[in-house]
Symmetry: C2
């Protein structure tokens, strides 16, 4: 059997590795535009910040490493056509076209940065961050820059703004919505983060879109709203990623509201064509509707299911909660499930409680504040959680992910056993405090 | 209504506070032997180590604070009799006897350190650590001591051995069983901890009980086995705690294999007498049999149920998994559920996997090794987990506690979503690596 994989990101390359773990004989070919594979794009901001020494560190494996596993990687190549009748793909490399047959085709085409249509986005000094080469270019540009504007205050935007500040630039983080991390955090929680970023010297501009970028060949200023001008030697567009669907459309795969539709075995609507990663839709665990989960972990998990599907083994990709975590400077923040406003938009009447707790026993040195918000539906079922603290956030998000996945109510979780020792937790865990408090609202 | 509570530890004092939160009028009296209430005994080793500055820091509230909440605390008093027919308790304070009527009686009598019968245990310099006064005495003794032996390598024993080492003493940690933390860790996991303790300069002596203590008035040497003598200016008996049952027996409460039998509403077999904390038996979540859960968190959680029971509100104390965590020096270790050998003793054929992972992305600075062991039953149902690392152990234990509580298999958990960011986790969480590996044993 011959499997051709389009895309060398987390979804594509993990699918290749996972198939190989299950089967030694399947022919596997990965075609990628990139010149590198098996690196962690989530790590790019941390290289820019200097926390990770070099871009080389975040490249886990080379195409040669895959060669040894009998996986062929064709780099710097663009797949230009898919013919699902004759089961071929056509790719272009160095100006030459090659046609490959496939038995199974995997579309792991990822997404393209969404750049809002705007005057000046093509000026020098305006960057997007999607792959390691983008990172390398920004890293060079930093050396001659004094000021930067990062627009789009999702995770990547925040992480990059923080990195640029750490490198000594004057940094504005701008977001057209009235809050940062709008997909994952409620405004009051995101405000804690804003306060921290401002304390670190980053200017946060909310609710005002950039309307144009101005400069002579190279960007010099950005205009916010009608006539607010700010200097910028460097502009980073962190305005989200749109699924890349061209090949899927060409192949006749059914497309949903945002991306390729797949079964829970990662099959598209076209026989022998599969898809994973940023270019597919997932099921939302709470409402069962379709959603989009553009996370590295989602791609990796989907690739495990897909490898089993291709090797004729049982596996199912479960609905998602889009659990996330990040760390900027000292502050770790994470979230899972619905925000208050997302719940409301979906006709759930959320019952919400925010509590302030500590990361260790009150009397233990270096106990840090922990802000936790829990969101329940009208029956007390937990549907969301957001946490900000200097430590121990990620794993609590995981505990809440499991609680939501299992359909637990705040009453159920209130009774749960938690491990305790003064240096690592409170005698009543912050999560328990939060669910106990929200439970009271149901009395 | 008049509630009398015997015992001012975590169970007793929390019951008092929780009743008061639910009802302003109930008369509440707590009688305790101690001269302090509302302190954290789990914190004593960390005061001895110097991590917490003074014993005053770990006392959260005084009897006067409780007075303000209309809770009467009678300190330094011994309850000498319970009459469950006439509903009275008799206590002795300063040589005077007083008889109190009760409507509801709470026995939170805790436990007494178990001191094995042995020559020399009454010598000066031999201590047990149960309350804050014990801590203060040891703290004084440390100042004139050069060498110490801590016997009993459960959590408290290890924490105290570490504290004494940090204070500059030569320390031997001795355990008559062939491993440390035998209740919670498998031998191979406990060996990681032994290696760390030895690296920190503690001598660990396993499988050899202390047979006698020798000295002229004051302890000078301990004899291990037949004729192995070690110097010791200080000996700490950390050989466990036996439930204090005298009053329960006097009142006619039914006693189980180890402790007072209670319902899931914390009722004893005698009407209007309730019990919580180290002196009661709990249900084991996995087998449903009785067990004993002498943890501060268990006492606190039981007290919440008991307060609701007394105030005629619904609540149920759930079966336990005895999830635990501790931290000595840099190393955090935790466990939940059954060890391999405990499973075997209970006729479960355990399927076990140990993995080594990292606490952060491989390329991220300060990624630390994390050792995880997962224990499943013959059907893949998770029944235990043990984790050792320099960070992020406690919350992963909590995630596993929830997984076991919900009856998840290793296959279920393999599919779970985990939050990821390079500074705080691996793209595939260590827990997922562990359950994926153990899952393979079922193929």
């Amino acid at each position: 059997m011959k499997v051709v994989i389009v895309g060398g990101g987390a979804g594509g390359i993990s699918t290749a590795s996972n198939i190989r773990k299950l089967d030694e004989n399947i022919e596997i070919t990965v075609i990628t535009r990139d010149n590198k594979v098996a690196y962690s794009p989530c790590a790019i901001p941390y290289v820019l910040s200097g926390d990770i020494e070099s871009f080389d560190d975040i490249v886990m494996r080379t195409p040669e490493d895959y060669k040894k596993k009998n996986i062929e990687i064709i780099i710097e190549s663009e797949v230009t056509a898919v013919d699902s009748k004759n089961k071929t793909v056509t790719y272009e490399k160095d100006g030459n076209e090659t046609v490959l047959n496939y038995d199974k085709l995997v579309l792991s085409t990822g997404g393209n940065p969404f750049i809002p249509p705007m005057e000046g986005v093509d000026l020098d000094g305006v960057f997007r961050i999607r792959n390691i080469d983008d990172g390398i270019k920004v890293n060079e540009a930093i050396k001659n820059a004094k000021s930067a504007i990062v627009t789009g205050a999702g995770l990547i935007g925040i992480e990059i703004a923080f990195a640029l500040k750490k490198r000594g630039l004057n940094v504005i983080l701008s977001e057209m919505l009235p809050q940062i991390v709008p997909r994952s955090l409620d405004k009051d929680m995101s405000d804690i983060l804003v306060k921290y970023l401002e304390m670190e010297g980053i200017d946060v501009v909310l609710g005002k879109p950039i309307t144009k970028l101005i400069g002579e060949g190279k960007v010099e200023k950005a205009c916010f709203g009608d006539d607010d001008y700010y200097d910028a030697d460097l502009v980073i567009m962190a305005t989200g990623v749109r699924p890349e669907l061209k090949l899927a459309e060409m192949a006749g795969c059914e497309i949903g509201r945002w991306a390729i539709l797949v079964t829970d075995r990662m099959e598209t609507s076209v026989k022998d064509i599969y898809a994973v990663g940023d270019c597919v839709e997932s099921k939302d665990l709470i409402l069962g509707s379709n959603t989009i989960s553009q996370l590295g972990t989602t791609a990796v998990r989907q690739s495990k299911t897909l490898a089993r599907t291709i090797c004729d083994k049982k596996s199912r990709f479960n609905p998602v909660l889009n659990s996330m975590v990040s760390k900027v400077g000292k502050l770790e923040f994470g979230a899972v499930g619905y925000t208050t406003s997302f719940a409301q938009q979906n006709r759930i009447r959320p019952v919400v409680q925010k509590v302030e707790a500590l990361t260790r026993a009150r009397y233990y040195p270096n106990a840090k504040p922990m802000d936790i918000k829990v969101i329940c539906d009208g029956n007390g079922k937990i549907i969301g959680c957001q946490i900000i603290a200097e430590e121990r956030v990620a794993e609590r998000i995981d505990t809440m992910t499991l609680a939501i996945t299992e359909g637990l109510t705040c009453f159920d979780l209130s009774n749960m056993e938690f491990a305790y020792a003064p240096p690592v937790s409170m005698v009543t865990d912050p999560l328990i405090l939060a669910v106990e408090e929200v439970s009271k609202k149901f009395n």
